[in-house]
């Protein structure tokens, strides 16, 4: 009885001491409270003081609520020693020491306190579970305010550091559409220059109408000239065998790129919003094809519904037939095609780059391939043992990656029913997956609050990004392959530099899960769609150009609220039109 009481007493003493210390050192000393608190609780549980452990937990829980709410929720139920063995969070906490960095002075203050008060309990906990690091001899003000280090177990930290040393090639692919496009432009530019030279000679002789022409040509020339300046991104040879694109598609895509609207902080995109109505909360996910012509929704009743947005304006064929027939009751008009095949909620859908096929991931552990031309199921990929949370086509098509509850991400090719690679390493569910633009890497976001980057060829983890405070729900890659953005459950978005695996800057503003992220075609704008019913546009041009200048913050350009429609997905078309989609879900109050 007395022993249990001592935990509470010494912890509250330590807490009071920290809170009454000088503001200068307080922020640093506060970091130690959470690990001490958690370990006190777990020791109480381990010693069988269930009642006292619960009391202890409740009395100090509010201190840590804002930062660690999810961990606390997971730990709260643990009351018997047996639970300690089973609980995932408890296990990781017990196995790993926690790193806490503080300046020399705070470190000494703490030691002095622990020794002078003879609180052996606290000293014991700090000794066995916390790795105190006195980093800087100077004043604490010099220390960066990154509390990521305090929340990360030491063992993981070491792995992270080792992994992040690996070399990655972030350039874009040789022979990709962008590459072809730029080459084409360069060729045209040369030709145009030659033309212009010839024309200037003639222009002197010619009359006014020639002048008009020249002005036009100049304008075009300027627009094109600006393009190669950005061409600093290195080209890479593909490591995978690349599928061949059809000529038609390639021509059209290049045409789109040519007509791409240039976006920036002063030229914001147009946003077209597709709103699902009457979904009765059953829409789980949505996807829009690259040209915005198709819209697919995955529903919790296992169905996928496919809308052809081009036909939407036209009167439906069914309705005409209904009018003409003798039966006066009109047949119900259905504007969509229902794809049935899954046996569990559909958690993810994705269109192929050409828009002719569709992949869906479901709670029945399978991934299915559908043709949007035939409106039929083509293949069913089995391999995951648990629900598949997300699926995504590679930027060139043919290959795709999936993320699952079974803590793995898998890479597949359309012609094989078995996965090509299995990426294992995440400590919890893999919730989302995103291909790198050069197809050599995939990024996965997980409930273990990290984002990992995997080499598709070797299946190895090459980068671990730590810093998020909750589950990662969306990832986007910048078109130059240099940066990655990830959004989490709390509404924070982080911009990462792939090469250094450092967070460039967090983008704060959303108040709900960031369900979707997308970079504009040339990478100057990041769009985010969230459960808080807004689309936000962020200026990211600053960061990708001036990487050395760390002080330059990315800023919010615009918030576009919807009428009570959480944004499930968004994507930029090749011409930089932003499509967003979500299910209209009026609040219950009305």
């Amino acid at each position: 009885d007395n022993e249990a009481g001592r935990y509470k007493e010494s912890y509250s003493k330590l807490r009071n001491w920290v809170h009454s210390s000088l503001d200068l050192y307080k922020t640093e000393l506060l970091r130690i409270l959470y690990p001490v608190f958690v370990h006190c609780y777990m020791e109480l549980v381990a010693k069988g003081f269930a009642q006292e452990a619960r009391e202890f937990f409740q009395s100090f829980r509010d201190d840590h609520q804002p930062q660690h709410i999810r961990d606390l929720q997971k730990l709260e139920g643990v009351i018997t020693p047996q639970h300690l063995q089973e609980n995932e969070t408890a296990c990781t906490l017990q196995e790993n020491k926690v790193h806490v960095k503080m300046c020399q002075y705070s470190f000494e203050l703490l030691l002095q306190y622990l020794q002078s008060t003879e609180s052996m309990l606290m000293l014991g906990i700090v000794n066995s579970h916390i790795n105190l690091k006195a980093v800087l001899p100077g004043q604490p003000a010099a220390l960066l305010d990154d509390d990521e280090s305090s929340s990360l177990p030491a063992k993981v930290q070491a792995v992270v550091e080792a992994t992040n040393q690996k070399e990655i090639h972030w350039g874009i692919l040789e022979g990709s559409l962008e590459d072809k496009f730029e080459k084409q432009i360069a060729a045209e530019l040369e030709k145009a220059d030659a033309d212009k030279d010839a024309e200037t000679d003639e222009a002197k002789k010619r009359a006014a109408d020639g002048k008009v022409k020249k002005v036009k040509r100049d304008k075009a020339g300027k627009g094109l000239k600006a393009e190669p300046a950005a061409r600093s991104v290195p080209r890479l040879k593909p490591e995978l065998t690349m599928p061949l694109l059809t000529d038609d598609f390639e021509r059209q895509a290049l045409d789109d790129l040519r007509n791409r609207v240039k976006l920036g902080s002063t030229a914001l995109p147009s946003v077209s919003c597709y709103t699902f109505v009457n979904t009765n909360n059953s829409l789980n996910c949505a996807s829009i094809s690259a040209d915005g012509a198709y819209l697919a929704g995955g529903f919790s009743d296992s169905a996928i519904k496919l809308w052809d947005m081009v036909k939407m304006g036209e009167p439906s064929m069914y309705s005409d037939a209904g009018k003409q027939s003798l039966n006066k009751r009109p047949t119900p008009i259905r504007h969509y095609i229902r794809l049935v095949g899954h046996a569990g909620p559909v958690y993810g859908v994705d269109f192929s780059p050409e828009g002719d096929s569709l992949l869906s991931a479901s709670g029945d552990c399978t991934i299915r391939l559908w043709s949007t031309r035939l409106n039929a199921n083509l293949a069913c990929y089995k391999g995951h043992n648990y629900p598949v949370w997300d699926v995504q086509y590679s930027p060139v098509g043919h290959y795709f990656a999936s993320a699952s509850y079974d803590r793995t991400a898998r890479v597949w090719s359309m012609d094989r029913l078995q996965p090509l690679r299995i990426m294992a390493g995440h400590l919890s569910d893999v919730d989302c997956v995103q291909w790198h633009v050069n197809c050599n890497y995939i990024a996965t976001g997980s409930s273990d609050k990290t984002v990992r980057l995997w080499d598709v060829q070797t299946g190895e983890c090459v980068r671990i990004f730590t810093g998020h405070r909750s589950m990662i729900v969306s990832i986007a890659m910048s078109p130059d392959g240099l940066f990655m953005a990830s959004g989490d459950e709390d509404g924070a978005i982080m911009m990462w530099d792939l090469a250094s695996s450092r967070c460039v800057t967090p983008l704060l503003g959303h108040t709900g899960c960031v369900w979707s992220l997308a970079f504009s075609g040339e990478g100057s704008i990041l769009a985010s769609g969230s459960a808080d019913n807004t689309v936000r546009l962020w200026d990211v041009n600053g960061s990708s150009k001036v990487t050395a200048d760390k002080t330059r913050r990315l800023r919010l350009l615009k918030t576009l609220p919807t009428k009570s429609t959480p944004i499930y997905t968004l994507r930029f078309s090749r011409r930089n039109l932003l499509f967003v989609a979500g299910a209209f879900s009026p609040s219950k109050g009305h």
Binding site: A50, Q51, R54, Q73, K74, E76, G77, V78, I79, T80, Q82, L268, P269, S270, V271, S272, C273, Y274, T275, F276, V277, N278, T279, N281, L283, N284, L295, G297, F299, S300, K305, W307, M312, P332, R334, H335, Y336, P345, Y347, G363, P387, W389, Y405, D429, D431, S447, M471, V473, E489, C513, W515, A531, L537, L557, K558, L560, P561, T562, K563, V580
Partner: protein, 484 residues
């Protein structure tokens, strides 16, 4: 210790046929049950997140259970709220009220309407970064528009750079839908639809968010119809309710149109004749309009500091002009009363005595032969009485009289609490106090607007004027202190 008490474990054990579960077993199981439940809920939350929802459903729990290879719970998928009942004779035993249904009834019942099918709508959320003002979008806030951003506010910006940020809201264009909406609503108001429909109309006007573009049209409509339809009482009533709905709508910024709206509203309060024939019950309309005016002044008074002054001036003018009709006086009194007790003190009470003296002959059957006019006078009298009474009541509520009773009041020491007794008390007053008392009370009434006026005197003078009918307005506690 655990949120699951061990009694619950006993109940569960009994339900599966174990009647003699040992207490220790139950106590050991309880924390584990809690832990497993929490685990399941964590999994369910995970499923909820992946379904991109923020509300946990029974489906999520079932998915979580099947992830753990546990049989899902059947019978909870309908989404109807579950009704738990307490078992008779047990204070801690609950069960789900699951009625037995007759299959025949269900099969023979007519088919319910199929729910609406899922559909997709497309609209422009933004055009080059600017949200167009269409009904599909959240209404733009007209007050946050350009004027706040002055050039001087942003130093170091060239004028031509400014124009980039200062794109004005998209031009005022009425969409076809809005036009139809307006036409339909005005038609319903003018033709006088049935109550249910009108109720929906007002609800729509009070809550729909896309109506801002229609506000000028509606104010114009109200103004036109009020001048045209002064004899049509239902129409006037509907119009006032339209005005009220528009004022209630949180998405509409009606301030710029208030000056257009106010004359019509004031008309409906103090017009000489509302509704064609004299016996039509126009009093109700006046009462309604009075509260409407008070609402307007309360809500927009801070933005238009002279709004209330102007309204009050109009009302006072109507009240003090003896040539005006009784109906107009009634409206004015009601309006002032609705604006609050301060105004009653300031405007009505000082003039009350003179007014009542003029009013009394109108009310007596000997002096006023016209029965209708007499009725009108009685209405005004009632309104005055209510206004004065409420005013006194509020004064007493905010500042109870602190004054000691005058020494010559013999019956003040009374501890009688009942109203009847108090009422009779004031008649017991000595005759010689009365003259002096009356003088002081008169003074109190004419100086009612002063801050330091004695509440007790006021009450007494009002009781003099109105008699015992004033007494119900006065809380008992205060009454015992003040009544002389």
């Amino acid at each position: 210790m655990s949120i699951v008490p061990k009694e619950t474990i006993h109940v569960i054990a009994q339900s599966i046929g174990i009647s003699n579960l040992h207490d220790d077993v139950a106590a050991a199981l309880a924390p584990d049950v809690e832990y497993r439940m929490r685990e399941i809920m964590q999994e369910a939350i995970k499923c909820m997140r992946h379904s991109k929802r923020s509300v946990l459903t029974t489906d999520d729990v079932n998915t979580a259970l099947s992830l753990r290879n546990v049989e899902p719970l059947y019978g909870f998928a309908s989404g109807d709220p579950l009704r738990f009942r307490r078992a008779v004779g047990h204070s801690d035993l609950f069960f789900i009220d699951d009625r037995e249904l007759d299959c025949k009834e269900i099969t023979e019942a007519p088919l319910t309407k199929a729910p609406l099918d899922t559909a997709v709508m497309a609209h422009w959320l933004a055009i080059e970064g600017i949200q167009p003002a269409i009904p599909e979008n959240v209404p733009i806030d007209p007050l946050s528009a350009p004027p706040e951003v002055k050039k001087s506010d942003i130093p170091g910006l060239k004028p031509d750079q400014m124009t980039v940020d200062l794109k004005l809201p998209v031009k005022h264009v009425l969409s076809r839908e809005l036009q139809l909406y307006f036409e339909k609503i005005t038609e319903l108001i003018v033709t006088g639809a049935d109550d249910v429909l009108l109720k929906d109309v007002f609800a729509s006007l009070a809550t729909d968010s896309g109506l801002h573009p229609l506000v000028p049209y509606f104010t114009q409509f109200i103004a036109d119809e009020v001048t045209r339809g002064l004899n049509d009482l239902p129409l006037l009533f509907s119009l006032m309710r339209v005005a009220r709905s528009l004022l209630l709508n949180p998405h509409i910024h009606i301030e710029p149109y208030l000056h257009q709206l106010m004359p019509s509203v004031v008309t409906c309060l103090v017009a000489k004749r509302l509704g064609g024939k004299n016996f039509v019950n126009h009093w109700e309309l006046r009462d309604f309009t009075a509260t409407l005016i008070a609402f307007i002044c309360k809500r927009f008074g801070h933005a238009y500091y002279n709004l209330q002054t102007r309204v009050t001036k109009t009302l006072l003018h109507a009240f003090l002009d003896p040539k005006r009709a009784m109906t107009q006086h009634y409206g004015a009194v009601k309006g002032i009363a609705a604006l609050g007790s301060k105004l009653v003190r300031l405007l009505i009470l000082p003039n009350l005595e003179v007014y009542i003296n003029l009013l009394l002959p109108e009310m007596s059957s000997q002096d006023q032969a016209n029965e209708l006019k007499r009725y009108e006078a009685i209405r005004v009298y009632g309104a005055l009485q209510a206004a004065a009474g409420n005013c006194i009541y509020e004064m007493l509520q905010s500042a109870p009289p602190s004054r000691k009773k005058p020494a010559n009041n013999k019956s003040q020491s009374t501890t009688r609490k009942d109203v009847d007794g108090d009422a009779s008390m004031h008649e017991e007053d000595g005759a010689d106090d009365k003259d002096e008392g009356v003088k002081r009370r008169r003074r109190a009434l004419s100086e009612a607007w002063k801050e330091d006026v004695e509440v007790g005197d006021l009450i007494n003078s009002l009781v003099d004027l109105f008699g015992e009918e004033m007494l119900p307005f006065i809380p008992m506690r205060e009454m015992s202190k003040c009544i002389l």
